[in-house]
C-alpha cells in the first residue's frame, strides 16, 4: 500500500477509505482514483451541457425565470 496513493483516493472520496483498501497496491489505488476523478468530471461536463441544452426546450416567455434559477 502507498500512503500517497491512498491519500489521493481519499481526497476524491472526500473521507477515509475503507480499511480493506490497504490491501491494494499503489497501482490499484491510483487506478481507482483516476476512475473516480474522471467519472465526476464526465458527470459535471454532461450536466453543464444538459443545462445549456435544456434552455432551448423552454418557451421563450419562461426562459428568463428559468435561467435566473439556474445561473443566479
Amino acid at each position: 500500500m502507498s500512503t500517497k496513493a491512498l491519500g489521493a483516493l481519499e481526497t476524491e472520496l472526500g473521507g477515509r477509505a475503507p480499511d480493506g483498501l490497504d490491501a491494494l497496491d499503489a497501482q490499484g489505488l491510483r487506478a481507482l482514483t483516476v476512475l473516480l476523478h474522471d467519472a465526476k468530471a464526465r458527470q459535471s461536463e454532461a450536466l453543464d451541457a444538459a443545462v445549456e441544452q435544456s434552455l432551448e426546450f423552454v418557451p421563450r416567455v419562461m426562459r428568463g425565470s428559468v435561467r435566473k434559477i439556474l445561473f443566479g
Binding site: G20, L35, A39, K40, Q43, S44, L47, V51, Q53, L70
Partner: protein, 434 residues
C-alpha cells in the same frame, strides 16, 4: 465461495456507478466483499453529491415548467443518468407525474442509474403497471442487480406486479443480488405455494442452487420451513443437485437451518437421501456444523440417518476436541436433544466417548435433570450406562452418586440392569455401592 460471488456483485454495482466495465475493477476482487460494498457506498455519495448545487437548481427550475415539458427536457437534454441524479431532489409527487409522461425504455435506462435509496418515496409512488413495464424490460436486459436494488422500495402492489412479469430464473437471479437482503422475506411472502414449487424446480433445472440457497438464508424461520417442506417434496434428482451444490460451494450452513425449520416428515425424507450419505458430503455437513455452531441441526438429523452414515459421522467426530464437544453438549441441553446426543456418543471411538462422559458428568444439577428425563423418556439407559462406564473410577463413583440422588430408584434399577446386560461391571458396582 458466496463471499467471492458477492464481491463480484459489488464490483458490478461500483462499475455501473462510475461508468466503467467490471473488468476495469478486477483488482478489487481480492478484497473482502464488505470492503468493496463500503467503497461503493462512499462512491455513491460522492457521485450523487458531486454536482448537488447545480442539480438542486435544476430541480427548482423544473417546478416552473409544465410536467410534459419537464419530461421532454429530461429525456432530450438531461438523459437517464442525470435524471437519475435529479430524481431524489424533486418533489416525489412531481417526479411521479413526470415519470408518467416518459417512455418505458427511457425510464428503464434511468432505473439502471438510480440509487433507489435516494429516491425511495418516488419509487414507492410509481404505479404498479408502470413498474411492471419497466421490470419487463429490465428482465429482458438481464439487469438483475438493478432490479435487486428496487426490492424493498416498491409498494407491495408494485412488487407483486413486478414479480408477475418475470420468470422464475430472473426472480432467483434477482433475489441473489438484492441490495437489502432483509427484503427477501417480503418478496417470498408475495409468492403462492405453486410459484415457490416452480422456483425450486427451476433452481434445479437451471443450476441456480447457489442463488436459491442464498434466499433460504435470508427468509424468516417460518418461510424457511415452508420452503424446506416444498423442497423435500421434490424428486431425489432435484435434491441431489442441491446436495452437490451445498457440498461443492460450502453452503451447508445455509442448508442445515432449513432442515431445522422443516417438518419432521420432510426432515426424515431429506435424511433418507442417498446423496447425503457419502463421506465427502457428511464431512462437509460436519464441517459446517463445526464452523457455524449448527450442532443442534446436526443432532436433529443424526437419528434419521442410516446406521452406516451415522458411523461415518462418528468417524468424522474422532478429532473433536473438548471445546467442540462442550458446544455439542450445550446444544443438546438447550434444544432438548439429549436423545440424539446419547445415541451418537456411543457410536464415537473410546477416547472421544471419555471426553463426552466427563463433560456430561460435570454438568449442573438442573441440566442433569433434563438429561435424565430425556434418557428415561426415550429408554436410553443402555446408552447412558455405556457412556458413564467410560469414566475413570473416581469420576464414575461421583457421577453414580449423583444419578442415584437425582434419578430415582426406578431409574437406577433400569440403569443397573443395563450395566449388567452390557457387562459394565465397574458401573454396576458403583451403583450398588452408592
Amino acid at each position: 465461495m458466496a463471499t467471492l460471488l458477492n464481491a463480484d456483485v459489488e464490483i458490478l454495482k461500483l462499475a455501473r456507478l462510475v461508468g466503467a466495465e467490471p473488468k476495469d475493477l478486477a483488482y478489487l476482487r481480492h478484497l473482502d466483499a464488505q470492503d468493496v460494498r463500503d467503497l461503493r457506498e462512499q462512491v455513491t455519495v460522492v457521485m450523487f453529491d458531486a454536482d448537488r448545487k447545480m442539480l438542486q437548481r435544476v430541480a427548482s427550475a423544473a417546478r416552473l415548467i409544465p410536467t410534459k415539458l419537464a419530461a421532454v427536457v429530461g429525456e432530450r437534454a438531461f438523459g437517464p443518468l442525470l435524471c437519475a441524479r435529479l430524481t431524489g431532489l424533486l418533489e416525489p409527487s412531481r417526479a411521479v407525474e413526470v415519470a408518467g409522461k416518459l417512455p418505458t425504455p427511457f425510464l428503464t435506462d434511468l432505473a439502471a442509474e438510480l440509487d433507489p435509496r435516494r429516491a425511495s418515496r418516488v419509487v414507492a409512488e410509481i404505479p404498479p403497471e408502470q413498474i411492471a413495464d419497466i421490470t419487463k424490460l429490465l428482465a429482458e436486459r438481464e439487469q438483475y442487480v438493478v432490479m435487486g436494488g428496487f426490492v424493498g422500495h416498491l409498494s407491495e402492489a408494485a412488487l407483486r406486479a413486478a414479480i408477475a412479469v418475470v420468470d422464475d430464473e430472473t426472480l432467483l437471479r434477482t433475489a441473489y443480488v438484492i441490495e437489502s437482503k432483509g427484503s427477501i422475506g417480503a418478496l417470498v411472502a408475495t409468492l403462492q405455494a405453486e410459484r415457490l414449487e416452480s422456483i425450486i424446480a427451476t433452481a434445479a433445472q437451471a443450476g441456480l442452487w447457489i442463488e436459491a440457497l442464498d434466499v433460504l438464508g435470508h427468509v424468516s424461520e417460518r418461510q424457511r420451513g415452508q420452503l424446506g417442506d416444498i423442497a423435500a417434496g421434490q424428486p431425489d434428482a432435484v435434491l441431489d443437485g442441491m446436495v452437490r451444490t451445498a457440498t461443492k460451494e460450502l453452503l451447508w450452513d445455509d442448508v442445515l437451518p432449513v432442515t431445522r425449520a422443516m417438518s419432521d416428515d420432510s426432515r426424515a425424507r431429506f435424511a433418507a437421501l442417498k446423496s447425503i450419505h457419502t463421506r465427502p458430503v457428511l464431512a462437509s455437513i460436519v464441517d459446517a456444523a463445526s464452523r457455524h455452531g449448527l450442532w443442534p441441526e446436526l443432532l436433529q438429523l443424526l437419528p434419521l440417518l442410516p446406521a452406516a452414515a451415522r458411523r461415518q459421522v462418528a468417524a468424522l467426530g474422532t478429532g473433536f476436541g473438548r471445546p467442540v464437544l462442550e458446544q455439542i453438549v450445550r446444544a443438546a441441553h438447550e434444544r432438548s436433544l439429549w436423545g440424539p446426543l446419547m445415541q451418537f456418543a456411543t457410536e464415537l471411538e473410546d477416547r472421544t466417548q471419555v471426553l463426552i462422559a466427563k463433560l456430561v458428568a460435570a454438568i449442573g444439577d438442573d441440566v442433569l435433570d433434563g438429561m435424565l428425563d430425556a434418557v428415561w423418556e426415550l429408554r436410553l439407559e443402555p446408552e447412558l450406562a455405556r457412556l458413564a462406564a467410560q469414566l475413570p473410577k473416581a469420576q464414575l463413583k461421583a457421577f453414580s452418586e449423583r444419578l442415584l440422588a437425582q434419578g430415582g430408584e426406578e431409574f437406577v434399577v433400569a440403569l443397573r440392569e443395563s450395566a449388567e446386560e452390557h457387562e459394565l461391571a465397574a458401573l454396576g458396582a458403583a451403583l450398588e455401592k452408592t
